[in-house]
């Protein structure tokens, strides 16, 4: 049912916007580009659907699904209900990387920005692992603390670079990027993000039962036959790499990776075999509609999606929280 909801959401969200389009037009454009049918749609409309709106809607779906799944996994692996995809210092590293690219004038294009963000994210995560794993095992508390420390450092450096550069144009584009937006999505970035999401989902779903075994802590998981050290390494690295790619596509979009896993747990219970597929689809649908609202509600101005996720999401979560409690007791 959720899968059908996702397909419908993609189709419907593409029709929303300044140029009036119908569902039928959207499907025939998609059919034409995938070679299923001859194109019957005028070139301008074809362009709006295929080059502007569809990449953006699919980007929202990929980013939403990825962030929600990564959040769910990190909350389990670190046994910290406040864990989110940015816990590992990845987003702050990405911001610093992107800002560095803009300010140093290494290029202002989408590719340069995304590349800088991705490299920054990887560097930050490598640093976190180095600190957390220094002379000891990779304990979750150490990973969390190292992540927080690196995030603070990167945030401070980012502010410094922005102030130092004192370029109003750069500052504006950086601020917009930091708040998170799908506006820059194109098919190349999407191909990368789609592959990353696909690989990560396979690895994570493969470990669904192992994740369940973490319910009573790591020692309990080990006593149930889980190779805790290996599982934790694999999942942390996969989570960080996927987040790095997603942040490069969309900037840092908060809330989705923190709250959606909790919301999904109210519906599915804590079993990861049900939780992970549901949270991925829910994250995709949620972010599609948030982004659609972000680009249309205050037309022609556009809000960063990261601002709207919280505005829309918090009331929805409060409703779930109160109803979930009634149902559980």
């Amino acid at each position: 049912m959720l899968a059908a909801g996702l397909v419908l959401s993609v189709g419907a969200a593409v029709t929303v916007g300044p140029a009036d389009l119908s569902m039928g037009t959207v499907w025939s454009v998609v059919a034409a580009h995938t070679g299923l049918a001859e194109s019957t749609v005028p070139l301008l409309r074809d362009h709006i659907v295929w080059e502007l709106r569809l990449p953006r809607v699919i980007a929202a779906a990929v980013v939403g699904a990825g962030l929600a799944v990564v959040g769910a996994v990190l909350q389990t692996v670190t046994r910290n209900p406040l864990a989110d995809p940015y816990l590992l210092g990845v987003s702050s590293g990405a911001s610093l990387g992107a800002v560095g690219v803009i300010v140093l004038g290494l290029g202002a294009g989408v590719a340069a920005l995304a590349g800088g963000a991705f490299l920054g994210a990887l560097a930050a995560f490598a640093l976190v692992l180095l600190i957390a794993g220094w002379r000891g095992t990779l304990r979750p508390t150490r990973v969390v603390l190292a992540g927080v420390a690196i995030a603070q450092l990167c945030a401070a450096l980012t502010s410094f670079v922005i102030i130092w550069a004192a370029d109003p144009h750069a500052t504006q584009s950086i601020t917009f990027w930091l708040s998170g937006s799908m506006a820059r999505a194109d098919w190349t970035a999407l191909a990368w993000a789609g592959v990353a999401l696909g690989v990560a989902l396979v690895v994570i779903l493969w470990h669904a039962r192992a994740l369940n075994a973490f319910a009573f802590g790591e020692e309990a998981a080990a006593a149930l036959g889980i190779a805790v050290g290996r599982v934790r390494w694999v999942l942390l690295v996969v989570a960080a790499l996927l987040t790095a790619v997603l942040v490069a596509v969309s900037g840092a979009i908060g809330f989705v990776g923190l709250i959606l896993p909790h919301a999904a747990r109210f519906v599915t219970g804590p079993d990861h075999r049900r939780l992970l597929p549901v949270v991925a689809l829910a994250g995709a649908i949620f972010l599609i509609w948030v982004d659609t609202a972000a680009r249309t509600v205050f037309e022609p101005r556009e809000l960063p999606a990261g601002v709207l996720t919280a505005v829309i999401g918090v009331p929805a979560f409060v409703i779930l929280l109160s109803r979930g409690r009634d149902a559980a007791r």
Partner: protein, 252 residues
């Protein structure tokens, strides 16, 4: 049968275990006694394969535990901790099914066998009516019984209990150890309450500063002299129903 042969374990500052040798014959309940910090928990973790022994060997029916892959070890040994906590909203059945994790045939789903065993072990700990209850609504005693059911669902040759009755009232303490006994599984149990140990254990092993101070049948081991030497307490030992009963004296 479990054999612990000359096991030592040290941290840079201290020797936690020093040449510990003991055994648990098939079907027996062996009590692991000793003051706080005497090495009971460390020994249990080494036996469970969760901690590599510094030296010495632990074998289960002749197979070296340290050489077992984690999943194999978890099919042969199950661990019941002092107490288990989770924030997750699990049902009793979901908790018990965790015990089937090392036996999984499929990476994805439980089979009919798994569900049948879950029902059977819940029945064994007298919690058949609790299958659909939420873990968060259970009392401390019920939670420990559910964890015992989870451990039994692993179908272990050896049960390892780490002070499993610490947070329970006396009624639930007796009930839990009774259920362990009734399961007939070979068990090594770290216990604090010496009278409880005397009541349920076939053999006891007393650790003192990482060494075995005494081991054997409870009535042979639990003497006033040993209690003075190991715990530094004065006590009288009498006999009731053929079991030793310890009465402590106030420190003077």
């Amino acid at each position: 049968m479990l054999r612990v042969d000359d096991v030592s374990w040290a941290v840079p500052a201290a020797r936690i275990l020093d040449g510990v040798t003991c055994a648990a014959p098939r079907g027996s309940l062996v009590g692991l006694l000793g003051p706080n910090g005497s090495g009971k928990t460390t020994l249990l973790r080494i036996v469970a394969g969760l901690l590599p022994a510094g030296s010495g060997a632990v074998t289960l029916d002749g197979d070296t535990v340290a050489a077992m892959p984690r999943a194999v070890a978890a099919r042969r040994m199950a661990l019941l901790a002092q107490h288990s906590e989770t924030d997750l909203d699990l049902t009793v059945t979901e908790v018990v099914l965790l015990g089937r994790t090392p036996h999984r045939r499929s990476r994805w789903s439980e089979g009919d066998t798994d569900r049948a065993i879950a029902g059977q072990v819940l029945d064994q700990v007298d919690l058949a009516d609790f299958a659909d209850r939420k873990w968060q609504t259970l009392s401390g005693g019920e939670r420990q019984r559910v964890q015992l059911a989870r451990a039994l669902a692993q179908e272990p040759e050896l049960l390892l209990l780490d002070e499993p009755t610490n947070h329970l009232d006396i009624g639930h303490q007796l009930q839990l150890l009774h259920l362990v006994r009734r399961s007939g599984t070979t068990t090594l149990a770290a216990l604090h309450d010496l009278n409880l140990a005397a009541m349920f254990c076939d053999l006891v092993v007393v650790l003192d500063q990482g060494r075995v101070a005494a081991s054997g049948a409870p009535f042979k081991v639990l003497t006033p002299d040993l209690l003075k030497q190991v715990y530094g307490v004065d006590a009288d030992v009498t006999t009731h129903d053929g079991r030793p009963v310890i009465t402590y004296r106030r420190p003077t």
